[in-house]
């Protein structure tokens, strides 16, 4: 801060990022900014690539489930893996023929409306505020989540889809232990299994899930049903307390899972496994 900074009554500094804090408060938002940007850039590139997302028996989580497959792309899923068969003719030409484009919007919206990520990007991207007791980005009229951001309230619908995707990814993890009908274990199987575990910890620690599973009740002990929901709520609460940790671990790991499958499919690395 330069000496030209203005002081208000009370001695507070005025303006964006102004503060008398002497600790490195900016590290948090900067790490968030770098981490989220890095993921978004990689995920966008990987999704638009449309190739090298499959190498038997591993399917990249960015591409699961395979709705259509463009079989001529290198490292694409075989036709048998596709729900609706070959790539459709109606697909607009200006978009790449990548099955990930059907998938990524769902987890994308789930993470975008997540109560943890909201904190992270409001701080790191929109500066409202960048850190505690640090000047917020001035706005003509701050409206919080009341105006166009009101869509954040539909987080629970994103949750419903996220739960569905957990099922798909669990199936993918399960079949990653079978190559050509033969049971085995590869590094990829472990990577994909961990991916499901981390995503489950993230998804089941979701604030909306915590509310729906039991948090909405005022009385936990009034009947047998609510007592069971109380038990579930307590377990969800444990995950919820670490929601930030699971958010980052699962984000990193899902990206890493795609990268792993991609590198194996490209032949850049070799998958260590029991089949060879």
């Amino acid at each position: 801060m330069s000496d030209a900074t203005t002081y208000a009554v009370g001695g507070h500094r005025e303006g964006f990022a102004a503060t008398l804090r002497e600790d490195n408060w900016w590290i948090g938002p900067v790490l968030t900014l770098v981490g989220l940007l890095a993921f978004v850039i990689y995920a966008t590139w990987a999704a638009f690539a449309g190739n090298h997302y499959y190498t038997a028996p591993y399917l990249s989580p960015f591409y699961s489930p395979v709705v259509f497959t463009y079989t001529t792309a290198p490292g694409a899923a075989p036709l048998a893996h596709s729900w609706f068969g070959a790539w459709p003719a109606w697909w607009p030409a200006f978009l790449p023929a990548s099955p990930a484009l059907f998938i990524l919007p769902f987890p994308g919206v789930f993470r975008f409306t997540c109560y943890y990520y909201r904190k992270a990007y409001y701080r790191a991207f929109s500066g409202t505020p960048p850190a505690c007791a640090v000047g917020a980005l001035p706005q003509k009229s701050y409206k919080g989540e009341t105006a166009w951001m009101v869509f954040q309230n539909l987080h629970r619908y994103a949750l419903y889809f996220a739960l569905l995707f957990i099922a798909f990814l669990t199936y993918d993890a399960f079949i990653s232990f079978f190559k050509d009908g033969k049971f085995g274990v590869g590094v990829g199987s472990i990577v994909l299994t961990l991916n499901v575990v981390f995503l489950t910890c993230f998804t089941c620690g979701c604030h909306a899930f915590r509310h729906l599973i039991g948090g909405k009740l005022d009385c936990f002990t009034c009947d047998a049903g609510s007592a069971r929901r109380h038990g579930a709520w307590k377990r969800v609460s444990l995950l919820n307390a670490r929601h930030m940790v699971w958010a980052w671990v699962s984000l990193f790991w899902v990206g890493f899972s795609d990268l792993y499958v991609r590198l194996v499919s490209l032949g850049i690395i070799k998958d260590l496994n029991t089949w060879n």
Binding site: Y7, A8, V9, G10, G11, H12, T19, L20, R21, E22, D23, Y115, R118, K119, Y122, R123, T128, P129, A131, C132, A133, G135, A136, P138, Q139, Y142, K143, G144, E145, T146, M149, V150, N153, L154, R156, H207, A208, R210, H211, L212, G215, K216, D218, C219, F220, T221, C222, H230, N240, A241, H243
Partner: protein, 248 residues
Amino acid sequence: MAKTRKFRIWRGDEQAGDFQDYDVEVETGMVVLDAIHLIQAEQAHDLAVRWNCKAGKCGSCSMEINGKPRLSCMTRMNEYAPDETITVQPMRTFRVIKDLVCDVSWNYEQNKKIAPFKPGPRDADGNYRMKQDDVDRVQEFRKCIECFLCQDVCHVLRDHEQKEKFVGPRFMIRLAGLEMHPLDTADRIPKIKEEFGVGMCNITRCCTEVCPEHIGITDNGIIPLKERVVDRYYDPLRILWRKLTGKT
């Protein structure tokens, strides 16, 4: 062992003021409030500061220390390097009365707007019955000592000055404590959405970070209230279901 420490304390009133420097001899185990008391007794008799219990139970001595909203009675001097100058100023969100004292009456006005606890009838033997499992959640919110540090740090009030539209984290958890109370029969959800402005909160969690009682203000209070507002006003399927069945 007494050691000389440097302080920069904001002195002034509503109109104007500035930081003034003080040197204080502090001893082992002292907190920032002890040092302020020494300055008051020895160098600046009229230095205005609020305090009562000096044990983190009453929430009177809120101020900003090196830019962070803190209780000065719970901020130990040994948190700072021996040669560090400690800067002390009043809370920002409220009008300064003098020196470190702010006018926090706005908070008391907000509390009056909240519909009071309204229990159902007692059991036949004259008692109310609630299980510990049911009151745990509510008890967390009732730990609040009304230091108003959360109100001070909340950017909706602090930077955007939206005091007409948002009652602030303190009263969000008061509302949560009433709404989740197993005996309460009043409905405050419409006001939580409109008048009290739960939507103004963008859950950046600074209130939780500064809470000296370590209350999960955001995760356990405000977000569950947001979800209850969603149940009532934003969930299309739920609204449709209510329309079809006539149930509330």
